[in-house]
Subunit: 320 residues, 2 copies
């Protein structure tokens, strides 16, 4: 299989990406363990089909740590023939010359105990389609990182968004505004008055070579965004992890976690794609929070800190 | 608007059904309050559009009662023009003469505190489609009741299924076997090795007049099934509500409630239909359990009572 710009003897483009996500997985797990102080990630290696046919993944989960109640940092490298369901989801007609698909990505979701420490999600992935001879017919990058606080600290929002703005600006000054808006438009509970699940971040998809950006740029951009995760998130955890909290504040966190569940199971394309195309359920649903509450018509008190958070979920802000 | 078999001066068919679901709602709420001993249902009346255009509903919820931790017994009577989304969901092509829809139903979900008391769901509904002159073009009944225990008591399963078998047998001896299988085939977490969300019950949909059953039969059958709820469920609550339980048993209940959430948000046609066609979110999602746990790769100990429950969810049994 050949990739744009690939030369004889050079390392394959996709192999470089695979190496990158595995290194990033190690780096991220190590920094999360350090800031947690107690929990350790446990690894499950899995294969899509016996004998490794179709690829597999490394699922790493942390549970009941010092700071993190539940979380996962997963990588997967998977491939196969385009099934009917996959064609439907990816909008690839049967008449297309594309017959096979390949995907490699890193995906993480971290749910802290403390309602003053935000939940975070990120996902960076590379897709390839090939014809029946193994020649590349299409390929693209996608990804993003978004923050779900339970209480709003403006300085944290500014730090988080600022980190991704700086990363974006190194590539194209239009990127941050564009991908910040994408993110605000994507993580939406449309059935809840368009309430966002949090305060966003960046999100981009189907990034292919165009007139001004070759595939290599999207590759480097995705690496930079993946690498920025640690700087964007860990300092916020350090700053908030020792704040004491009440049962009522924990209750509010669990109510908001309910909205997180609703988004992931009703709207999230990645989750539904995985569940519909026979992905590994336990790895996909590691994103769900450890303890959750659903209450009929729950509304925070007017002018409360809880209402303030809800307000910025309903009306996304410009943080930087 | 005319309905099959309707005669001048007679009460309209759909009006009889509307009266029935409201009476049933009163009856069911009263018996649940009696067995609960402490909690009371609170009613929210709502309208789809200002001024009552499009119909509305009576949502009745119970929360933090003596036996029931969270539950809702809702009725709704709603109608409108067939939107694009609704045509998609109901498989009605634009070329069809049907232009308007009407639906009236009762829907309930009850989540008890005690893991030895099962969760229960039921829904009975009547649909009509009409052309632009208000003439009936299609109509049907659908419904079902299903039980979700956390621990298996075979005598409870036999009582529950037996009650519905008797109800079915009064109409047609083929019904129970057919609708029991429908139910086992419907409430399935396909992404969890086809694990059922509970031990089933009965489920039927799109019941229209055929050679041997006129619409009146489906109407009477649906009334009988709705009325059977109290006999099917309340004696089980009475029998199990005082059993003491451990934290570990509550934990297991919350893990299983997670599967309930997964089914309702990923697979349940009624829930997704409601959320996609701009239904009243709070009334639809009253079905979600009050407290829920999600844990990576949770498995009950071999040969435990928890494993025994899981076994009958994976392999539906003949209870009567």
């Amino acid at each position: 299989m050949k990739v744009f710009g690939e030369k004889a003897g050079e390392k394959k483009f996709r192999d470089e990406w695979i190496d990158f996500i595995h290194e990033l997985q190690n780096k991220i797990c190590a920094s999360l363990e350090t800031v947690d102080g107690k929990g350790e990630f446990k690894e499950d290696l899995w294969e899509r089909k016996p004998g490794g046919k179709g690829g597999g993944g490394k699922t790493r989960v942390i549970s009941k740590g010092g700071v993190f109640e539940k979380g996962g940092v997963n990588t997967s490298v998977v491939y196969g023939e385009l099934s009917r369901k996959m064609r439907e989801v990816l909008h690839i007609p049967l008449s297309s010359e594309s017959k096979n698909w390949f995907a490699a990505g890193l995906s993480l979701v971290i749910h802290p105990y403390n309602p003053f420490v935000p939940t975070v999600h990120c996902n960076y992935r590379y897709f390839e389609l090939t014809d029946s001879d193994g020649n590349l017919t299409d390929c693209w990058f996608g990804g993003g990182t978004d923050l779900t606080p339970y209480y709003l600290f403006e300085e944290d929002a500014k730090h988080f968004h600022g980190t991704y703005k700086n990363t974006c600006d190194n590539f194209d000054e239009r990127f941050y505004r564009l991908y910040k808006k994408n993110c605000d438009d994507y993580f939406v509970n449309t059935h809840r008055n368009n309430e966002r699940r949090g305060i966003g971040g960046i999100f981009y998809d189907h990034r292919k070579p165009d007139e001004t950006h070759d595939l290599n740029l999207w590759y480097k951009f995705s690496k930079a965004c993946g690498n920025a995760f640690i700087d964007a998130y860990i300092p916020i955890v350090e700053k908030r992890k020792y704040i004491s909290f009440t049962n009522e504040q924990k209750y509010w966190q669990e109510i908001r976690r309910g909205r997180y569940v609703e988004f992931n199971l009703v709207h999230d394309r990645g989750t539904l794609f995985g569940l519909r195309t026979n992905g590994r359920t336990e790895s996909i649903l590691m994103s769900l929070p450890p303890t959750v509450r659903f209450e009929y018509d729950y509304k925070p008190a007017q002018d409360s800190e809880e209402a303030k958070l809800l307000e910025v979920c309903l009306h996304p802000q410009d943080w930087v």
